[in-house]
């Protein structure tokens, strides 16, 4: 008998004691997924011969799901069903799917030694709601994949109620990425024409090659999502800032945070390095009046990344300055240090995912180019504007790097309204 002739996808063998707490919910969930399920409450009608009906269910189901519980192993009836399923399994491969429902391995071993060796779905350490998807995946992998895909689309549509937005975003990203890729390829090709690769060209070529690699990966990822019809916004929901935000937002209420105390705390933790490099900190006195109402851990993460960078890339015997400015719509904190000049174009790419500038490549082997990318992500969640600029200084190769954080007025308080 081939699978197409089977009447049901699944036969559920269980003890009636487990119906209310688990089996009925499982059967209903599987039916909702679109599986045809032989479950006594769905299938039997008054007057049916129980034994004949079960025999027919056993024989005409592609898979048998045995809910092995303490009640199950005590029943002669379930043992009969299990024997039927095991017999089928001998004839046809992979028919029996055991689910261990709140039962220990020793008890299963005592009941049926061969059953212990079978790969089972075990409920002891997981949520019961995890069981139906696992069963679906084993019985109808095609349906499972389709539902997962649909769920992803559903999630993305919820996030972007108008599908047009999703299409626009995809078009936007693909156009941008491919345009940058083309530009970089042309640049590289042009430079490689020169057989005498000096150190500078070699460095630039490496940066471009690294760009080509990462952009190609991004394009491929987006293209795959488009082709599959799924859309899991890889640039937002999967990024660490979103996850961090979701985690912190769920755990804590927003609170009033004194910026000065966080900044001082971070600098104190960098005391050793500041001393080694003989760096002086100059912090505007008025910063003590600035209070931000938000999630403390996220704001601390932003400031730590920027201040740590400022210390790491500052030249010896220089000054790190923390200043602020109150404007009509925002309160801006500017953190500046003095360090090596960035190469042309690098200043615009500083928040890009995976970007490692010339300075980074020569001073750190561990930097992944994620710190400032995460900073931008967190800032976007709160509507904080983060930007970078550089000011030339008289000394060659040296500049002032300035990171600005513009906190919207609606999350900012100025203590005592000192303006």
């Amino acid at each position: 008998m081939d699978d197409h002739s089977k009447e049901w996808d699944l036969f559920i063998s269980h003890a009636s004691e487990d119906k209310d707490n688990f089996v009925r919910l499982l059967a209903e969930a599987l039916r909702d997924y679109g599986l045809s399920v032989w479950y006594d409450e769905f299938t039997l009608t008054p007057g049916d011969s129980l034994s004949r009906s079960i025999d027919r269910g056993l024989a005409n189901s592609k898979y048998g799901l045995a809910i092995i519980s303490e009640s199950f192993i005590e029943k002669p009836w379930t043992e009969y069903e299990l024997r039927g399923l095991v017999a089928r399994e001998i004839e046809e491969d992979k028919v029996l799917i055991p689910v261990w429902y709140e039962i220990t391995k020793d008890k299963v071993l005592h009941f049926s030694p061969p059953l212990v060796d079978k790969v089972a779905i075990i409920t002891n350490n997981s949520e019961l709601s995890d069981v139906p998807p696992q069963v679906l995946k084993a019985v109808r992998p095609d349906l499972y994949e389709k539902l997962v895909r649909e769920e992803l689309i559903h999630i993305s549509r919820n996030r972007f109620p108008e599908n047009r937005r999703r299409d626009l975003f995809l078009a936007h990203e693909l156009k941008q990425l491919s345009s940058v890729l083309m530009d970089r390829s042309n640049g590289l090709q042009y430079m490689l024409k020169d057989a005498q690769l000096g150190a500078e060209i070699d460095r630039r070529a490496n940066i471009m090659l690294s760009d080509i690699f990462s952009y190609s990966e991004n394009i491929r990822g987006l293209a795959d999502l488009t082709v599959n019809g799924g859309f899991l916004d890889p640039f937002s929901t999967n990024t660490p800032p979103e996850l961090l935000f979701a985690k912190n937002a769920a755990q804590k209420e927003r609170e009033d945070i004194k910026l000065e105390s966080i900044i001082n705390h971070i600098f104190r933790s960098q005391y050793k390095k500041l001393r080694e490099k003989n760096i002086t900190i100059e912090s505007a006195k008025d910063i003590q009046a600035i209070v931000i109402n938000t999630h403390k851990s996220n704001i601390a993460a932003i400031l730590r990344a920027i201040l740590d960078n400022a210390v790491q890339y500052a030249n010896n015997n220089t000054l790190i300055r923390v200043a602020h400015k109150i404007s009509q719509y925002s309160v801006t904190i500017a953190i500046s240090n003095i360090g090596q000049f960035l190469s042309d174009g690098e200043e615009y790419r500083i928040f890009q995912k995976g970007f490692r500038g010339y300075n980074t490549m020569h001073t750190s082997h561990t930097a992944q180019g994620m710190g400032l990318f995460i900073v931008r992500g967190i800032c976007e969640v709160y509507g904080i504007g983060v930007s970078y600029s550089a000011e030339e200084l008289p000394q060659e190769g040296i500049c002032r790097h300035i990171f600005s954080l513009s906190f919207p007025k609606n999350i900012t308080k100025i203590k005592n309204e000192q303006r």
Binding site: H172, K175, Q176, D183, S327, G345, R349
Partner: protein
Amino acid sequence: MSKDNILLWLEDRPETIATEAVYAKNAGLIIKIAPTLIQFMDMLEEYTSSNTYQIKGMVIDIFVYRARDLSVLNGEYTSNQGYDAGWLLLQHKLSESIYNRIPILLYSVKELEHERRDVIDRLNQDRPSKITYLEKMSISEKFIDWCKTISD
């Protein structure tokens, strides 16, 4: 005393305009990038009243990814409208007469609908400095020409 020439740019992903920024720099412009509307408006006010800087042009990205805070526009907007943040900024703030002497370039991957082209035409009738639209695809002669024109 001559003032330094500023190109004020609303762009949430500066890495995508790195090459354009180099062209603009070569045309003698200092690029100031604002990633949010709030930062843009604060910068606009700061440089408009500055004695050392002069805004020679503004580049507006229409499609500002993930812009949520549209409070500077003083209207009832949903966070979804952040996707149109640049356009909303143009309509509700930059069309005010105090800014009509600053050339504006709408620079976006988003295709400009006919209705919006009509709005630009209408706004341009009353503006000494024009609003231009360019599609953000790759470096074009048009972009370089625009930079040269405003920096002259």
